[in-house]
């Protein structure tokens, strides 16, 4: 089905046979002035529009009803996709602490605590990816990593270890990992290295920033896509940068 490709789709080459986001870790960095949630919503709709794609959504930020409402306005029925097993939704808000993960997922960990909880979460993501990756493209979305850090009692080290293991899924199964990070939370103190660590780990960074010139009525912000490049089939490295403005409308996004 032909659809008008947006600039974001072009930048991520979503229409290509070998889209650059396949088998990569994508980091969406946003701030209070310009929320990056719309990027996630856009990509959810885009991926679910093809029957070859499955999304595994790990939600720390909002319940299912929130995403369902937003995507419905954009013309995508998340409830139906969930029933068709095209969308696997892990609602982490129901759990009080990471140790609950072990209980919920029926795992016996010798040591409870943050690391055990994250290992359990990783185990279930791994299982879901392994089962579904043989004939479909699977994308894991984590919304968001700043709240994952809160759930891990502020243990940045364990969160980075968890993200490293998620990165190994991209090389083992060719799946895509997309996560959101709020950059302005870490603007001072020792935690400043956390966004940098994630930028080093990520293959593609999508930054949403306000315009340098300030507020504007018809433009909500600017998107910068930094692609470090990978060695594709032809052996060529495609490091690229894209930059364009966006406007969020009620049920659409303009780039």
């Amino acid at each position: 089905m032909n659809r008008p490709a947006t600039l974001l789709d072009d930048a991520l080459t979503l229409d290509d046979d070998e889209p650059i986001q396949k088998g990569r870790l994508i980091l969406v960095e946003d701030c209070v002035e310009t929320s990056g949630a719309f990027v996630l919503h856009h990509l959810i709709k885009r991926f679910l529009s093809s029957s070859d794609n499955i999304i595994l959504f790990v939600a720390f930020s909002h319940p299912f009803s929130h995403y369902d409402r937003i995507l419905r306005k954009m013309g995508c029925n998340l409830a139906a996709q969930r029933e068709n097993k095209r969308l696997l939704f892990f609602d982490m808000l129901m759990l009080e602490c990471p140790a609950d993960l072990a209980f919920v997922f029926n795992l016996w960990m010798i040591d409870d605590g943050v690391e055990g909880g994250l290992i359990a979460l990783y185990g279930n993501i791994y299982k879901a990816v392994e089962v579904n990756s043989s004939n479909k493209n699977i994308t894991v979305m984590i919304d968001d990593i700043s709240l994952l850090e809160v759930a891990a009692n502020g243990s940045t080290k364990d969160v980075l270890n968890f993200m490293h293991y998620c990165h190994t899924l991209t090389t083992q199964f060719g799946c895509t990992i997309i996560t959101v990070l709020h950059e302005d939370i870490y603007s001072s103190g020792d935690e400043f290295t956390f966004p940098l660590q994630m930028e080093y780990l990520a293959d593609i960074t999508i930054k949403t920033e306000p315009l340098i010139t300030g507020l504007a009525a018809d433009v909500h912000g600017q998107l910068t896509i930094l692609d470090k490049g990978t060695i594709g089939r032809s052996g060529s490295m495609k490091g690229k940068i894209h930059n364009f403005r966006y406007k969020i409308k009620e049920n659409n996004r303009l780039f």
Partner: protein
């Protein structure tokens, strides 16, 4: 110049010397450390596989790349992968660095991975135990070259990751032990300088016989998109080599990334092109014509920037100082300075004022 660095790694160390070591520093503003690392790795591998280097094999310790990436990289550079087991061993600290997968496998949560057993690759399941890591590196190296006088090289693709799992002191200890091990010919590692404090960076530079810094083209703020774009295609490569006689050779080059290959060019030819490309494209002329350049050279600068041989005398407005300063004739003052002795020249506020006067200087104010 990057090739000069490769040659030093290739030539290794003399008998009784510590292994040649190289630190590659990069930052997020010019994230090409891994690319430079890959270049040096493939160049050194080329020397090793064709028996043109001191070392007979190389042990690659990977934290941030999978073994399959390394295989792909070597294949794209024209290496025969089937023969790589003769000169390459990979210590895989990427796949399961903390043993999480093993724990999940033991509990039956995930199945054993269906991966090809590879002669080259050993998986490390606990990178926090550096003593064990050290033993594994040595075991792999000896497995390649045997015991005896043959030597091997070691490459660590991310020291930053290793420090994140352990500590600065234990990593420094590991590197020091590797450097002093007789069979190690050369070592090089990658460090992301913006993730460490100055103390850590200095510690590793002190341990290195060579330091290579990957920098963006310009140190200006990269908020401007075109500068950011340039920094993702090109950059600067600064290398300093400590020679055996104690002198340090500093080299600078530019590099550009084209079709997966990194190309190094000398700074002179690159500088003007960079300057040209950095000038924003606007409708008015920002260049200088030859006449304007010569006129600018003729402008007389304010005296403190004239840089003439005459020492700068600052006249503070009192006529008495023209002839005599502190009892020394003006003409002699210059000679005293020329003789190189230290002089303290004191200008009194008033010639009439006695030294150490008890009078309040504000007494004569009449407000």
């Amino acid at each position: 110049m990057a090739d000069a660095v490769c040659r030093v790694l290739r030539d290794g160390a003399l008998e009784g010397e510590h292994a040649t070591s190289l630190t590659i520093n990069d930052s997020v503003s010019s994230p090409f450390g891994p690319t430079v690392f890959d270049y040096l790795f493939t160049q050194l591998s080329s020397f090793i596989s064709s028996s043109k280097s001191q070392s007979r094999g190389i042990v690659l310790v990977t934290f941030s790349r999978s073994p399959s990436f390394t295989a792909e990289l070597l294949k794209n550079r024209g290496f025969d992968i089937t023969k790589s087991h003769e000169w390459l061993r990979v210590l895989d600290c990427y796949t399961d660095p903390l043993g999480w997968k093993e724990r999940l496998r033991d509990r039956g949560v995930i199945k054993a991975p269906v991966t090809e057993a590879s002669v080259n690759v050993s998986v490390c399941k606990d990178v926090r135990n550096l003593d064990d890591l050290f033993s594994q590196i040595l075991a792999l190296g000896k497995g390649l070259v045997g015991d005896g006088k043959n030597r091997f090289s070691v490459a660590i693709d991310s020291l930053t990751e290793m420090i994140r799992h352990t500590s600065l002191s234990s990593v420094a200890c590991l590197l020091s032990n590797l450097r002093s091990y007789a069979q190690v010919s050369s070592i090089f590692w990658l460090l992301h300088s913006d993730l460490h404090d100055m103390k850590a960076i200095a510690a590793f530079e002190y341990m290195s016989s060579m330091v290579a810094n990957v920098k963006p083209l310009t140190s200006e703020n990269t908020d401007k998109f075109y500068l950011l774009e340039q920094s993702y295609k090109r950059g600067q490569f600064h290398a300093s080599l400590k020679r055996r006689n104690g002198r340090v050779r500093i080299m600078r080059e530019e590099f550009s990334i084209e079709n997966s290959l990194i190309k190094f060019t000398s700074m002179e030819t690159g500088a003007n092109a960079v300057a040209q490309s950095l000038v924003p494209k606007v409708q008015f002329n920002l260049q200088l014509s030859d006449k304007e350049r010569s006129d600018r050279a003729k402008v007389v600068l304010p005296f403190e920037h004239q840089e003439t041989e005459k020492s700068v005398q600052i006249y503070d407005g009192r006529k008495s100082d023209l002839h005599e300063i502190n009892g020394v004739p003006f003409d002699n003052l210059k000679k005293n300075e020329d003789s190189g002795r230290g002089e303290i020249i004191y200008f009194r506020d008033s010639d009439d004022e006695m030294p150490d006067s008890d009078e309040d200087p504000d007494d004569d104010l009449d407000i």
